[in-house]
Symmetry: C2
Subunit: 325 residues, 2 copies
DNA sequence: ATGAAAGCGCTAACAT
DNA sequence: ATGTTAGCGCTTTCAT
């Protein structure tokens, strides 16, 4: 591997000049630039990123922590983030936390040790103070953390749209189905928007928490429905959960979700495959925008503490083909 | 940030001793180890990865190139790879190629410039010689490249299983639906296994290439079926393609895929959501195993040039509920 | 068992 | 406009 010294010798200049040419080309004589470029080409020279990072204290790497890469929403965020990073000349280092606090903190330490220039967090389960103590630019996606800039979709409006859609489909008493989630998720705005809209329409709704990763999930839902026959539609907290429950109820011979109107959330491809109405988050925009904010922060500029992007309702068969009279 | 020098001073030893303690602890006096550990703790010391990498020429980073992170199969591979890397003390740098040769080569150069210790390639569209010329440990996943070790599933058996499954479901003339793909994909073994099994059963099959990323995909399939009324079942080249075509045919009012037996490939969650029989690749095993092979290669050990892992058939409604008599 | 010192490849004053 | 040089934080001979 050719070094800057080799290039300097071959071009008949000093290493400083070569270095300058790479960092502030306009300050070196055009003719010299040519010579150096020629030498670089001939030697197939690439600057050593590590050496440069050691010197400049900037690695050019962004860290991303997600619960799991293979969860549809996060995979798409990762794609968008990778694109944006690349475009700005940064690389992406990905870690997953499994939603475990210990693992999340380990990953944070790992990224910090690897000298990332900044971090993007989609998986907040740890103590917010730990993040603030890091003294590193951080932006949260789809999460809100104290004193840390975040990019989320408009969950309140999303919830409201979902309610409107169910009402339009004829529902009088929809059921909100959620994961058992901790209190700080943006989910709360989503539910608030939903409930407010339902109340304004003089209707009522119920709510149930189901852990779809347990095998008895479908049965729990069925039990709930038996006890609450007034339920005539569903607001599912995420396409993936909706898909899982659909599969599980089918396996149990309880095709509940095929009969009543359903509105889901996220806007993954999955929802289209299942012909399911969903409130779509602008996932790619969120990822891209989060990177832009993070890079601004890395450069020391002020950035908005909260950025909210628009959602939209994608209407499909699950709210247009099913009657529930 | 505390440096090794700070630790050395505080512990009353030289930097060399501190360094030794980190790399070969058994060679330094236990009592000294204690002192150093104490100093490290007090200073909250973490070694600088960049400085270490500069010196040792090993970054501790593995590069992964996939077409897109958000394609179900690759997301799961990425998850498995990240897990395995982490377990072995490596970090993961992810890039996506979009299946574009230029971008793929750019990403390769980028990873090389970032001094990754090795690369995992899931997206081979570039010239194999370029990879061999890199002089860097490389392992391919779900792809076979000349002179580069690869980890794939047993595509031939997978194809055979798919054929058996369709035959058992009563098909006499299944249709193979594939993407228009280049010649080097492991797909070929898959189709060979399928066709051989069909032939051995004294049956026949057809094949059609559909680009499901174009809107008229469903119509093309419908046209084909009209011209070939003997088709009575489908072998889909990938769960994602099957899901897309199902959605598209539904949108066109052509519910073809809901009526005839279907066997798909990959074993993504998606297939379960759609109640679709699929030939499941051992995705997590492939990812984990690829990392293990790569790390061996990085250490200079010899590794198998081809590793093939077992597939299995997951039987679901798409081959058990549908009659086609 | 430990210390001294020479770099790894690059950047950034400071000189010229 | 270009050259000289001192590190960045670490590892690693070579001495002791």
């Amino acid at each position: 591997m050719a070094t800057i010294k080799d290039v300097a010798e071959r071009a008949g200049v000093s290493v400083a000049t070569v270095s300058r040419m790479m960092n502030k080309p306009d300050v070196v004589k055009p003719q010299t630039v040519k010579k150096i470029q020629k030498a670089m080409k001939e030697l197939n020279y690439y600057p050593d990123v590590m050496a440069r990072a050691l010197q400049t204290k900037r690695s050019g790497i962004i860290g991303l922590i997600v619960p799991r890469i293979s969860y549809g929403l996060f995979a798409r965020i990762a794609d968008a983030v990778e694109d944006a990073c690349c475009q700005h000349g940064f690389r992406l280092m990905i870690c997953h936390s499994e939603y475990e606090e210990q693992r999340e903190m380990d990953m944070v330490a790992l990224l910090k040790a690897n000298k990332v220039d900044g971090m993007l967090i989609c998986s907040y389960v740890g103590d917010p103070e730990k993040y603030n103590a890091l003294d590193l630019p951080i932006v949260a996606i789809d999460r809100e953390m104290e004193r840390i800039p975040s990019v989320t979709c408009d969950n309140v409006t999303g919830g409201a749209l979902a309610a409107q859609e169910l009402i339009a489909a004829g529902c009088r008493h929809p059921l909100i189905v959620t994961y058992p989630v901790p209190a700080y998720m943006p989910l709360h705005g989503r539910l608030a928007g939903f409930q407010k809209t339902i109340a304004e329409a003089q209707l009522t709704c119920s709510q149930v928490e189901i852990d779809t990763f347990r095998p008895q999930a479908a049965r729990e839902l069925a039990d709930f429905l038996r006890a609450h026959p007034e339920v005539d539609g569903f607001f599912m907290n995420g396409d993936h959960m909706a898909a899982q429950l659909t599969q599980q109820t089918r396996a149990e011979g309880l095709p509940l979700l095929d009969q009543l109107p359903v509105v889901s959330f996220d806007g993954l491809d999955l929802s289209g495959f299942l012909d399911m109405t969903t409130i779509a988050q602008p996932i790619e925009d969120m990822g891209r925008y989060a990177v832009e904010i993070l890079l601004q922060k890395i450069e020391g500029k002020a950035v908005p503490i909260r950025s909210t992007l628009e959602v939209k309702c994608i209407r499909r068969g699950s709210t247009s083909n099913r009657s529930n009279h």
